[in-house]
């Protein structure tokens, strides 16, 4: 690696990229994670959506 030292100017500028991450953002993301973990899983959501679509199609056909 020694033969390819990075451009320090670019590295210094890239190191200044930081997230605006504060306590409020931490808590809101944690709440969102817990909600996602408690909620139905992706497969269950897809199954429920398919059932709802089938029901809708059935009711439209019946009319």
């Amino acid at each position: 690696m020694d033969d390819f030292e990075p451009d320090t100017h670019i590295v210094r500028l890239m190191a200044r990229i930081r997230p605006g991450w504060d306590a409020a953002r931490t808590e809101s993301n944690l709440a969102a994670i817990l909600e996602r973990l408690k909620g139905p899983k992706r497969r269950q959501r897809a199954w429920q959506a398919m059932l709802a679509a089938t029901r809708l199609r059935f009711h439209r056909a019946a009319r």
Binding site: M1, D3, F4, E5, P6, D7, H9, I10, V11, L13, M14, A15, R16, I17, R18, P19, G20, W21, R25, T26, N29, L30, A32, I33, L34, R36, L37
Partner: protein, 199 residues
């Protein structure tokens, strides 16, 4: 930044997920909360440096911790929780970058906004220069970019990058050389003699 161990938090979390009795003192949610509060800023920092935009960051951080929560039993040692989170972050961010590149190829996505890359303390000139630098880094291939950011910006060692990216040390070195060469060429093409970037 070395990969520090935080044994107590991770061990308690692992015990809880394995169903071991912790005396009912702390709930699973509290354990996840502890882990999240401790490591979310670290995950977010890697995430924004790889993604280069703030608007996808919340989604990325949530995905990382959900994957971590669901796969915690795969973690061999609680000591390596930080490296393990970094590995998930890199994998998820890479997936997003590939998707973004594909979308931009079909012109479905606009160029990333650079308004929120740095804190409010930076002057408009500094913000513009940082955004310009990121755009230059963004032009190098995703695999090379990930390795370059981990090495030079995050300060990881070659061994830890190899572990995080699931590649050999030789591959890490090869990608680093390629990334440095590419950045140097771009800079030369811009023709800036004193090393400052045009914004």
């Amino acid at each position: 930044m070395p990969l520090l161990a935080d044994r107590s938090c991770a061990t308690r979390f692992a015990q809880r997920l394995r169903g071991e009795d912790l005396g009912g003192v702390v709930s699973e949610e509290q354990q996840l909360g502890d882990l999240f509060r401790r490591y979310a800023p670290y995950v977010a920092t890697i995430g924004i440096r790889l993604l280069g935009r703030d608007d996808e960051l919340d989604d990325l951080v949530q995905e990382v911790f959900i994957e971590a929560y669901r796969g915690f039993h795969q973690l061999r040692s609680p000591d390596s929780v930080k490296a393990w989170l970094a590995r998930i972050t890199v994998r998820r961010a890479t997936r997003r970058l590939r998707r973004r590149r594909l979308r931009s190829f079909f012109s479905l996505e606009e160029l990333p906004s650079d308004a929120k890359l740095v804190d409010d303390g930076a002057t408009p000139e500094e913000k513009a220069e940082i955004a310009s630098t990121y755009r230059m880094v963004e032009r190098i291939p995703i695999r090379q970019r990930v390795v370059w950011v981990l090495k030079h910006v995050e300060g990881e060692t070659l061994d830890s990058i190899a572990a995080i990216c699931h590649i050999s040390k030789a591959t890490v070195q090869r990608r680093l050389r390629a990334a440095d060469r590419s950045l140097r060429m771009q800079k030369e093409r811009q023709g800036d003699p004193d090393g400052r970037l045009r914004t």
